[in-house]
């Protein structure tokens, strides 16, 4: 009886998380002294998923500009700083702001804001209108991965 109940709860949770993923609302965040302490939506990141997002060309594609300790991928970019030991230089909260909206720190940066307020963008293609580049969960996954780079 108990296992049936547990299975039902798990199924409901999976379904509701999928429904959330389909129409995710923009979650507010706060820049506090050049850092965002709270995880977006209180979500917990998964470093394995984060590593995949960092590589995927249609997701984070961080390798386009940054060097990362991912040896199976050739040609890492040199536009941004080397992230091999990023977690020993920055705290999780500092990394979060830099991924969410680096322009808060350097208004001239080339670094896209992966969870920047979509209303702040200019001349966005219709398919991406009102959307953030990554979802809140994806941002937290990337942070979880970067925090392993000590």
């Amino acid at each position: 009886m108990r296992s049936v109940l547990r299975a039902t709860i798990v199924t409901v949770l999976i379904l509701s998380s999928q429904a959330l993923a389909m129409a995710e609302e923009y979650l507010p965040w706060k820049n506090n002294s050049m850092a965002i302490e709270k995880a977006l939506g209180g979500l917990k990141g998964n470093p394995q998923r984060g590593r995949a997002i960092v590589i995927a060309p249609d997701k984070g594609s961080c390798l386009t500009c940054h060097h990362l300790p991912i040896d199976e991928e050739l040609f890492h970019g040199t536009v941004g700083p080397d992230l091999t030991t990023i977690a020993s230089r920055l705290t999780e909260a500092e990394i979060r702001l830099r991924i969410v909206d680096e322009k808060m720190i350097n208004p001239n940066t080339i670094m896209p804001g992966y969870y920047r307020d979509p209303n702040k963008f200019n001349q966005v293609a219709e398919a991406y209108y009102g959307k953030t580049f990554l979802t809140a969960q994806e941002v937290e996954d990337v942070i979880a991965y970067l925090m392993t780079l000590k």
């Binding site: 386009t64 890492h76 001239n108 200019n122 001349q123």
Partner: protein, 260 residues
């Protein structure tokens, strides 16, 4: 303790100079994209038999000599193989047309002749035939130094182009200036960012296997930025073309260039 103020002073100096570097499009000597491609690709561009863009040049040459219904072709005015075309004039486009009361691109000029002198149906901007003719005419001026005059009536269009060049667009929220000024010479994955000059356009792209006009290249960047592009041949893209050509003033025409 005495050395502390000097340290702080030096920190301020370095911060300030970094600020200057990142805020102003610091003046750099224009360098052709040719310098940023591999030796293999350079050799491919230089060898007219190996250069895949030469197919388009040949197509343009055929169109240049194709006789229209009124019995004329481009060669009727400009001579066989365009011998009487002034090569240095080709390198001055876009120019201000007092007749049209606005700047016109080389492709527009070709299209004006195509309609007015040959009585042909006008081209749609950047259609394959128009690009082929533009490629051929620019190829005739290979080695000619780009010399776009942006003074006088061209000034406001040049300024508008510069504004577009520095305008962040799309979900990636980037502008041309970020890659081609601030980060030129650095690597985007395996590809070296060039200064983004237009002296080789229309150019053959190894990535797409196609001859690519300047406006199509702009469009590709806009799509990468997840931005809504302007129309091919639109006033905005023409302004941007004026600015991009003019910032490469002094470079030699390389059409058809071979690029990644």
């Amino acid at each position: 303790m005495k050395s502390m103020p000097i340290k702080i002073f030096l920190q301020y100096v370095s911060l300030f100079s970094f600020y200057l570097l990142s805020c102003t499009g610091y003046a750099i000597e224009p360098v052709s994209g040719y310098a940023y491609i591999s030796q293999d690709t350079q050799e491919m561009q230089d060898d007219e038999f190996a250069n895949p863009g030469m197919t388009t040049v040949d197509k343009g040459r055929a169109l240049f000599h194709a006789v229209a219904e009124n019995g004329k072709n481009c060669a009727s005015c400009h001579g066989e193989d365009g011998v009487s075309l002034k090569k240095s004039r080709i390198a001055e486009y876009p120019i201000y047309s007092y007749e049209s009361q606005r700047p016109i691109t080389l492709q527009e000029q070709v299209n004006i002749c195509w309609q007015d002198k040959l009585d042909n149906i006008p081209f749609i901007y950047d259609c394959a035939d128009a690009v082929a003719l533009e490629t051929y005419v620019r190829y005739l001026a290979r080695g000619e130094v780009i010399n776009v005059d942006v003074s006088g009536p061209m000034q406001p269009y040049f300024k508008a182009g510069e504004e577009l060049y520095n305008m962040r667009v799309g979900q990636l929220d980037m502008a041309c200036i970020h890659c081609h000024v601030y980060h030129q010479g650095q690597k985007l994955r395996g590809q070296t960012l060039s200064q983004g000059h237009s002296n080789g356009f229309p150019e053959y792209r190894l990535q797409t296997g196609q001859i690519t006009s300047l406006h199509r290249r702009f469009t590709e960047c806009f799509v990468t930025f997840r931005a809504k592009p302007f129309d091919l041949g639109s006033e905005d893209f023409i302004n941007l073309e004026i600015y991009v050509h003019a910032r490469g003033n002094g470079l030699k025409i390389e059409t058809p260039a071979v690029r990644y």
